[in-house]
């Protein structure tokens, strides 16, 4: 068996490979649903209804997509420059915690149109700081950022737990450990009344467009791609690699922090350790499904959100454990990796 690099990439392959990757993952998920004894096609039907079947279902799917698009962008931006930021979960919580602490205090008594942007920036900055540390450790000491960002996720989550049981504790929460709620004027407005869908969706899609523009039209976008493809060549060509990677860390960490800020201001209104069911980790899947393209992240985020919301509905109706969504999505990541490989290489006997 020999592996050869393809000279040209036919269009049918570039489009067909990701689609078949998702189909293969869905088929494997079908086998697992069958294992539970539930009728497979009815189960998938219920999932579709659960994700898109009513106005409420659609708004729920869109609401769920907001943090996934933002953490997906965070992973896409970092991975493109070969900065392995696996710490989006921790950065998300750092952003959420910053927003909760500042929002509750509202130090300047600012009105909503100032307070909300201020809080969003604060959340992003908190995420940035959290990622700059491991990237700086890599640049200075050669410490692999994968392990440090992963370990920091656990540290941050424990710190959140410490905060909401200590200095940020909400005394009116009937003993539930959660932070003091942010004031009503800091909450994001609803996009659709009587739903949870909030203006954070605009923030997420806007962020995707901004990242697209940065990648396409700025020197930094080119340099970050060069740093990922061939760091030595980029350095030889005079690109400031360290500085570029630190900027990438700011962008990626900032996006993950923003996800936490938007989730607090848009959905929950407070921080608890249940704020994110692994949005940071799922963001990696979203980014890979989108082949690291910022516009693709919007669609991949919607797909993954639909899987999760649909699986919840299906699980309630048919008793199939809702973990099936996690299984399908993570399997799609693996099949997508192989699909992307097949668009770049061919296998010869």
């Amino acid at each position: 068996m020999r592996i050869e690099r393809r000279e040209t990439r036919p269009a049918w392959l570039v489009i067909g490979a990701p689609v078949s990757a998702v189909l293969v993952a869905l088929m494997a998920a079908g086998l697992l649903v069958g294992l539970s004894g539930a009728p497979v096609f009815e189960a998938f039907g219920r999932m579709a209804v659960g994700a898109f079947g009513s106005k409420l279902a659609i708004t729920e799917t869109l609401t769920r997509a907001v943090p996934l698009i933002l953490t997906g962008l965070a992973a896409a931006v970092a991975f493109r420059a070969q900065v392995w930021n696996i710490g989006a979960e921790g950065q998300l919580y750092a952003g959420a915690l910053a927003v909760a602490a500042l929002g509750a205090a509202n130090p300047f008594g600012a009105p909503a149109y100032l307070l909300i942007p201020m809080l969003l920036v604060a959340g992003a900055v908190a995420g940035m700081i959290l990622l700059i540390v491991p990237v700086a450790l890599r640049l200075r000491f050669g410490v692999d950022e994968v392990v440090t960002t992963l370990l920091m996720n656990f540290i941050v989550l424990l710190f959140v737990s410490l905060a909401i049981e200590g200095f940020l504790r909400d005394p009116l929460a009937f003993g539930w450990p959660q932070s003091v709620p942010v004031p009503p004027e800091a909450r994001l407005e609803k996009l659709v009344t009587q739903s949870r869908l909030h203006t954070g969706l605009i923030v997420a899609v806007g962020a995707a467009l901004v990242v697209f523009a940065i990648n396409r039209f700025t020197v930094f976008g080119l340099q970050s791609r060069a740093a990922g493809l061939q760091a030595d060549a980029a350095r030889f060509a005079g690109a400031p690699i360290s500085l570029t990677l630190l900027k990438v860390a700011c962008l990626s960490g900032g996006l993950a922090g923003l996800a936490g800020a938007v989730e607090v201001l848009g959905v929950k209104g407070h921080v608890s350790t249940a704020l994110s069911p692994g949005f940071g980790y799922t963001g990696i899947v979203v980014a890979m499904l989108a082949a690291l393209s910022p516009i693709g992240v919007i669609f991949a985020g919607l797909f993954v959100a639909a899987m999760f919301v649909g699986a919840d509905g299906m699980s309630r109706a048919m008793g199939v454990p809702s973990f099936i969504a996690d299984v399908t999505v993570s399997l799609a990541l693996l099949t997508m990796l192989i699909a992307l490989f097949l668009t770049q290489f061919r296998i010869r006997r």
Binding site: G142, V147, N153, V327
Partner: protein
Amino acid sequence: MSDLWDILMTVGLWSSVLRIATPLIFGTLGALLCERAGVLNLGIEGIMTFGAMAGWLTVFNGGDLWTGMAMAALSGAIFGLLHAGMTVTLGLSQHVTGLGITLFGSSLSYYLFRLAVPVQGTPPTIEPFAPYPIPWLSDLPFLGPTLFSQTPPTYLAIGLALTLAYLLARTPLGLAVRMTGENPHAAEAQGLDPIRIRIAAVVVGSALMGMGGAYLTLAAFNSFFPTMVQGRGWVCIALVVFSAWRPSRALLGAILFALFDAYQLRLQTIFGKAVPYQLFLMLPYVLSIVALVAMSRRVRVPQALMKPYRRGER
């Protein structure tokens, strides 16, 4: 202050040190073997979770404890084969593949566990490994009740560390693995097959990771619950760096880490009122990062680590 010193010398502390260290020893040896052959296996966290689930479920359904360990090793090997197929045969990104396997392995084990054991008030339990005092040796003062009164998997873990140390450093097989991790082109020139060696190393290493997970459900605790691995896999990856890719130092590193972990648990009971318990729980993770930074300058990384090998390509 003398209190703190007294705790350090108690039998209870040291006996729990080896209990905490055992899954880390298995996991670190597994990750170390993969990395020595040139493959970073970030699937470890998911493989340990799956091993914990597979081992527990085997015993819960009437298998004996060693069958449970064997099933965990087998499932680990299967995930290892998946990882090796993607990263070694196809040469895909070791980072992303490993993370994908972690996400897949853990979500699949939660799913299968929920199918097998529907939600109940209290999670069902099994009868775990009992301590097996080694005759005569367990009568020794201090060492007897600590080192020689552990459960059988702990002895296995220590034995494996010493065996792997010998195999890697002193046998042709070990030399072949190390050569593949340092310079696969040179290995190929010697008539070795780097691709096969890497696949074998990842499969065996992943089997060890699975056994480390199974220790959690079959000896340390007696039930399975989601997120029970709690980053132990990532700690193992850090311990590999700390050990400078040497099995004997990995054994010491895991014990040192466990000592710290056991000690902070004791400190919690003393200072729990004054200091939030979360600060103590953070310490092991903080310590791992500090160890990584401290060791990063001194250790020599296997030169071909994370570099995919394709025949005829440079």
